[in-house]
Symmetry: C2
């Protein structure tokens, strides 16, 4: 990003996403200085061992001081406190962005603490793995993946453009969206699938021990894919369901109705109905492949 001249980028939070950004910024040479901060002493020490940045700070205020861009990659439940904490340390003209999975709540939680003269461009990279922590990050995590930006009305267009460029330089495709619409789409594509995966794996957890062992042994028949999704960061996902409650409950209601209809068809022996559903679901898969999302 030679033309935008980012001297200092501050990364507050250095888990899977934060450390992947650190790796990508370093690899693509997108900032002269990477300042890293996280509340956990152990994680900060680990980030230093991994050589993820250029300076390491126990206090977020120290990391964001003089930063051109500040990326907040902390659990949703911590976003408000972090925004409040750093507010007085941000330099005029700085851009604050985040990476969290719910956008309306983040705007409500962080927005009021962003001082005048500082820009706020909320973002959400649609990328991740089931692994957590600073060791899990890698520079190519965002390559070929979407990043959705949800700037509140009136946000400086140049600031949006600069964050958009940052993501593109890290390999992402960028889409700008209304925050509420983002939350609705992600409730369907991400939050509901994770909830269901957690739920089915929990059902298996509650089985008697010998049956549970066999379920693990023969998991390759479908269950295995759900265990991978259900191994995602518990705190992050707890927060998602707290912060995007209405959209999740809405799509969960629709899902439960559809599942009940399939259950009824099984009980009544309605083979044609099942075949019809199982045939039309194949088309969505084709679209996913056509869209190069798998």
């Amino acid at each position: 990003m030679t033309d935008t001249n980012v001297q200092r980028i501050a990364l507050v939070g250095i888990g899977l996403i934060g450390s992947s950004i650190a790796n990508a910024v370093r690899k693509e040479n997108l900032a002269a200085h990477i300042a890293i901060s996280t509340r956990s002493e152990t994680t900060l020490a680990r980030a230093e061992v991994l050589n993820l940045g250029d300076s390491y700070h126990a206090q977020a205020t120290d990391a964001v001081k003089d930063a051109d861009i500040v990326v907040i990659s902390v659990p949703l439940s911590a976003c408000e406190a972090v925004a409040k904490e750093i507010s007085t340390a941000l330099k005029p003209g700085a851009i604050v962005t985040d990476v969290s999975s719910c956008k309306a709540s983040v705007i409500a939680d962080m927005g009021p603490h962003i001082p005048d003269g500082v820009h706020f461009v909320p973002g959400h990279p649609i990328a991740g793995t089931e692994h957590s922590g600073p060791d899990a990050g890698f520079a190519d995590l965002f390559k070929g993946r979407w990043c959705i930006l949800t700037p509140p009305k009136g946000t400086d267009e140049k600031a949006v453009e600069q964050i958009s460029e940052l993501w593109k330089e890290m390999g992402s495709m960028v889409e700008v969206m209304e925050p509420e619409h983002h939350d609705q789409v992600l409730a369907i594509t991400s939050h509901l699938p994770h909830l269901i995966a957690y739920s089915i794996v929990d059902t298996a957890t509650n089985l008697q021990d010998d049956l549970k062992q066999e379920v693990i042994k023969f998991s390759a028949s479908g269950f295995r894919d759900f265990t991978r999704i259900a191994a995602s960061d518990p705190v992050m996902w707890r927060d998602v369901f707290m912060k995007n409650r209405d959209a999740v409950l809405d799509i969960l209601g629709q899902f439960s109705e559809d599942l009940a209809a399939l259950q009824r068809a099984i009980r009544r022996g309605e083979a044609d109905k099942l075949e019809e559903v199982f045939t039309r679901t194949r088309e969505i898969r084709r679209s996913v492949i056509d869209f190069k999302q798998d």
Copy 2:
């Protein structure tokens, strides 16, 4: 399988599983002659183009004539008719096996048509992909995967041993199990996950068009994995839910209760409860990895 001296193996049905067996038998040199039969003229012609066997038969009776081993790889709903059809053509001492996903129903459907002097060793390889048809098969599909055999009481032990050897030569690990127990375990590990994947993809299918397009576009956030599972063969899965109805409805009931409990926790804002569930599901993932099933 030089010591068992299989002169002729007949493969009735040549979809993903049948064609994978053809490839594996050929690669490992497990039979002198591979006779292939399928009801569909197009599929039979395609199998010949792919050079999957040594002879091709429109009539299953012609394929199984003089065969030492007969592998039935047809949808569950066709198993009874095929068993009836081939019953008079089987040679004394032949072993009939199958590959279907439900075992109690197959024993009820096929068992009565297996003549005296012919052995019946039902089997189920826990392997597959979301692709169907003779082009989808490959020799390594069964490598490192379980195959469960469910011989009815009184089945000749040598016959069980021979089918067990056949699967081991194709790279599988073999487990012998009661048919009803198999159906219960698979209802949890395979049938319920597929039903849920079909259901959530169907929920997306029912969305308004513009929202559906966005769900496909941003599917990498979790939904994508479900579309892969929900692209599996519709006829095969229709039959599974018809044939293993009771076990599926039982575990589906448990799942629905567990999901309702999560829904309630979300609605009431019980963050601790969610975190507790999401933390314990991680342990199952570790067990799956420890068991080398992923």
